[in-house]
C-alpha cells in the first residue's frame, strides 16, 4: 500500500517536472529567435481612477511592441515590454518602478500616467539613474531640470495651451477676457498660467471666476463675465462643468463673446453631451486628435494616420490623445535602444539630444534645458463645427 502510494506520488512529481521542463524549454524559444531581448519597462494606471489614461496607453504600448517584433525587433533583438499597473495609486506606482529597476533591470521606463504618480517616482528614477519618460502633463515633472537629470515627459504643459490660446486671441484683436476655472488641481494649474502669461500677450483679465467640480449651475459666473465687458471667456475644467459652461454660455446668449475651452474639452463625448450648443467653441488641441484634418504635407500627418489605422483595426475603438502619449514615449525609447543599446546612461544622453522627433503630440526637440521638447506650436486651434472638430482660421 505504502509503496504504491509513493509510486503514485513519484509519478505525479515526475509529470509535474516534465511540464516544468517543457515550459522552461518552450517559452524562451520565441524570444531567443533573435538576440537577447531588449526590455522596456512601463507603469500605467490601467485600473483605478485614471484608467481612462492607462487603458489606451497600455493597449498602444502592447500594439507597438507587437509591430516591432513582427518586423524582426531592433538590431536583431526582440523587444520585451514589462508592464505594471499602478492602480492609480502613488505608493503602488513607486513600488512598481522600483521593481522594474531592481528585479527586471530595465534600461528605460515609460509612464506613469498621472502627474501625481509621476512626481512620486521622480526621486526613484534620479536615485537609481534610470531614464524615465512620463506620460503626464505637470511641468513639475521635468522642472527644475537641474534635479531632473533622468526624467523626461511627452505630454504638453498648460503654458503651451495658454500660449496657443493667447496667440489666437492676439491675432483676433481680443484684449479683455474673463476666465472661469474649476477648483481642482487641473483648474488651479490652468488658472495660474492664464494669469501669469496674460501680460506677455497684452491681455487683461477682467473677471476671474471659480467653481467646484460638482457645481450644477454656472450662470452666475457667466453673468458676471458678461457684465465685465470681456471679449472672450476661457473655461478651464473637465467633466460635467465643461459641458455646463457651454450650455450656460449658449443659454445666456453670449455668442458675441467667444468661448474658449481648455484642451480638457478635447473629447467627442463632450460634443455629444453639448449637442448643438457647442457650435463655435474654440480650443487648442494636440494634432493627434485632429489627424484626418491635417494637410497632407504636414510632417505629423503620416505617423498619426498610421497610428489611427493600426489602433482602430486592432481594438475596434477610436484612438485617444492619451494613447498618443504612450506612442510618443514608446517610440522615443525604441529609437534610443536602436541607437545606443540597453545602456541607461547612454539612453538618457540620447533622449536629451533628440531633435525633430516626429510624434503624435508634436515634433519633439529635447535639450539639456528642456526635458519636454514640445512648444505651443505643436497645438492646433480647433473650432467645433457641425458637431465635429474643424481647424480654426
Amino acid at each position: 500500500m505504502v509503496g504504491r502510494g509513493r509510486n503514485r506520488c513519484v509519478g505525479r512529481a515526475s509529470r509535474v517536472l516534465l511540464w516544468v521542463c517543457a515550459l522552461v524549454l518552450l517559452t524562451p524559444v520565441g524570444v531567443l529567435a533573435g538576440g537577447k531581448p531588449y526590455k522596456i519597462g512601463a507603469v500605467f494606471s490601467v485600473t483605478g481612477g485614471a484608467s481612462f489614461l492607462g487603458e489606451p496607453e497600455k493597449k498602444t504600448a502592447e500594439m507597438i511592441v507587437e509591430q516591432v517584433n513582427a518586423r524582426g525587433g531592433i538590431n536583431g533583438h526582440p523587444v520585451q515590454l514589462v508592464l505594471y499597473d499602478d492602480e492609480t495609486d502613488a505608493t503602488k506606482c513607486n513600488l512598481a518602478v522600483k521593481k522594474l529597476i531592481k528585479r527586471d533591470k530595465v534600461p528605460v521606463i515609460i509612464g506613469p500616467s498621472t502627474s501625481g504618480n509621476s512626481l512620486a517616482v521622480v526621486s526613484v528614477a534620479e536615485a537609481y539613474k534610470v531614464p524615465l519618460i512620463s506620460c503626464a502633463a505637470s511641468y513639475k515633472i521635468v522642472e527644475p531640470v537641474a534635479s531632473r537629470h533622468w526624467v523626461f515627459k511627452v505630454a504638453g504643459s498648460d503654458k503651451h495651451v495658454v500660449g496657443k490660446m493667447y496667440d489666437y486671441m492676439q491675432a483676433k484683436g481680443i484684449t479683455k477676457i474673463g476666465i472661469m476655472t474649476v477648483s481642482t488641481g487641473f483648474g488651479a494649474s490652468g488658472r495660474e498660467e492664464l494669469l501669469r502669461l496674460a501680460k506677455d500677450y497684452g491681455i487683461t483679465i477682467v473677471a476671474d471666476e471659480r467653481y467646484g467640480p460638482k457645481d450644477t449651475d454656472l450662470t452666475a459666473q457667466l453673468t458676471k463675465i458678461r457684465q465685465s465687458g470681456a471679449q472672450a471667456v476661457v473655461n478651464w475644467s473637465v467633466g460635467p462643468t465643461a459641458v455646463l459652461a457651454v450650455k450656460g454660455w449658449r443659454d445666456l446668449k453670449m455668442e458675441g463673446i467667444a468661448l474658449f475651452q481648455s484642451h480638457g474639452f478635447g473629447s467627442k463625448k463632450y460634443l455629444e453631451l453639448c449637442g448643438d450648443a457647442a457650435e463655435g467653441v474654440l480650443l487648442p488641441l494636440a494634432r493627434v486628435n485632429v489627424g484626418p484634418l491635417l494637410p497632407e504635407d504636414h510632417p505629423q500627418k503620416k505617423v498619426i494616420m498610421e497610428y489611427i489605422r493600426a489602433y482602430e483595426a486592432k481594438y475596434q475603438e477610436p484612438i485617444s490623445s492619451f494613447g498618443g502619449h504612450a506612442w510618443d514615449s514608446m517610440h522615443l525609447a525604441l529609437a534610443a535602444l536602436q541607437a545606443v543599446g540597453p545602456d541607461r546612461a547612454k539612453i538618457r544622453d540620447f533622449l536629451e539630444n533628440t531633435r525633430n522627433f516626429v510624434g503624435q503630440h508634436g515634433i519633439f526637440n529635447f535639450s539639456p534645458q528642456d526635458h519636454n521638447g514640445l512648444s505651443k506650436d505643436d497645438l492646433e486651434m480647433v473650432v467645433v463645427k457641425n458637431g465635429d472638430w474643424a481647424l480654426a482660421e
Binding site: 471666476e209 452666475a220 459666473q221
Partner: protein, 300 residues
C-alpha cells in the same frame, strides 16, 4: 456688445438661485418626511436625486420612452429603491438606536453610489429639456424653459404634499406618527406602514427633483452627496421636520449661493451653505421655523 444693466444681472442671479434652491428644498422635504415619521436622517436622500436623473436617462434614451412616461417610470423605480431600503435594511435594524440607523443610511448611500457607478459608469449623462431647448431672452435676462419646469415640479410637489398631509387620512396618520408614535399605535395607526410609506414618498420626491434638473445640470453617479449635503443644510436651517421651513430655507440657500457667486466670489459659493448651517446651529439650533419645545422632545 450691449452692456447689461445691474438690474438684469441681479435678476439673472436670482433666477439661478431660485432654480437651484427649489432642488435643495425638495431634497430637504425628503429628509423631513422620513425624519417626521422615524426621527431618522436619511443620508441616502441625495442618492435618490442622482438615481432619479439616471433612471430617467435610462428610460428615455435606452428604452425610448417619451418624456412623461420616462419621468414617471424613473420616479417609480426610485420609489422602489426607497422601499428596498426600508423593507430590507431599516426594518431589519429597527431595534437599533436612531444614530445607528442614520449610519446605516450612509452605508446605503455609498452602496447606491457604487452601484450607479457600476451600471452607468463615470460619465455624465444628458437628458433633453421637457419642452424645447435654448432659452428665452427677456430684458437681458436669459430664462431656460427647463428652469421653469423645475419650479413647476417643485411647486406641484409642495402643493400635493400640503393637501396630502392636511386632508388625507394617510397624511394625517403620518403626522400623528411624527407627533407621538406610541399614541398613534394605540389609536390603531399602523406605524410600520407609515414608515414604509414615508421612505417611498421621500424617494419619489428626490427622484422627481433629479429628473427635473438633469436637463440643466447633467447627471452622473457621484452627484448625490453634495446635493444631499446642501439639502440637509436647508432642512436644518428651516427646522427639521418643517415642510414650509424647508421650502423657504432651500430657496434662501440657493439665492445666497448665487448672489455670493455673483457679487462676492464664486470660490466661496459652497462655503455659504455651510456657514449658514453653522450660524443656524449656533444661534437658532431648532431652525428658522422649528419650535424649541418640539425640538427638545426629539431624540435626535
Amino acid at each position: 456688445m450691449d452692456s447689461i444693466g445691474f438690474g438684469a444681472a441681479w435678476l439673472q442671479y436670482a433666477l439661478g438661485g431660485i432654480t437651484v434652491g427649489a432642488i435643495y428644498a425638495l431634497v430637504a422635504i425628503g429628509y423631513n418626511i422620513i425624519y417626521n415619521v422615524t426621527e431618522i436622517i436619511n443620508f441616502a436622500q441625495g442618492e435618490f436625486v442622482m438615481l432619479g436623473g439616471l433612471f430617467a436617462v435610462f428610460f428615455h434614451e435606452t428604452c425610448g420612452f417619451p418624456m412623461l412616461p420616462a419621468f414617471l417610470a424613473a420616479v417609480a423605480a426610485v420609489a422602489l429603491t426607497g422601499l428596498i431600503l426600508e423593507r430590507y435594511v431599516i426594518r431589519k435594524a429597527r431595534h437599533a438606536t436612531v444614530l445607528s440607523m442614520i449610519i446605516i443610511t450612509i452605508a446605503f448611500s455609498i452602496l447606491l453610489k457604487g452601484g450607479a457607478m457600476l451600471v452607468w459608469g463615470r460619465d455624465p449623462y444628458r437628458l433633453p429639456a421637457f419642452s424645447g431647448s435654448g432659452s428665452i431672452l427677456w430684458n437681458g435676462v436669459a430664462i431656460q424653459p427647463q428652469a421653469l419646469w423645475v419650479l413647476a415640479v417643485s411647486g406641484t410637489i409642495v402643493a400635493c404634499l400640503t393637501i396630502f398631509f392636511q386632508r388625507s387620512v394617510y397624511g394625517k396618520a403620518m403626522l400623528a406618527c411624527a407627533d407621538n408614535p406610541a399614541a398613534a399605535r394605540l389609536v390603531g395607526i399602523p406605524v410600520r406602514t407609515m414608515i414604509f410609506l414615508s421612505f417611498m414618498l421621500s424617494a419619489a420626491i428626490g427622484a422627481a427633483a433629479g429628473v427635473a434638473i438633469t436637463p440643466i445640470t447633467l447627471m452622473e453617479y457621484d452627484r448625490g452627496a453634495l446635493l444631499g449635503l446642501k439639502g440637509f443644510g436647508a432642512a436644518v436651517l428651516g427646522g427639521l421636520g418643517q415642510f414650509f421651513g424647508a421650502l423657504v430655507a432651500g430657496l434662501l440657500l440657493g439665492l445666497a449661493e448665487s448672489f455670493c457667486a455673483g457679487y462676492v466670489s464664486s470660490g466661496y459659493k459652497d462655503a455659504v451653505a455651510l456657514v449658514l448651517l453653522l450660524l443656524a446651529l449656533f444661534f437658532k439650533p431648532e431652525g428658522l421655523f422649528g419650535s424649541k419645545e418640539a425640538a427638545g422632545l426629539k431624540r435626535f
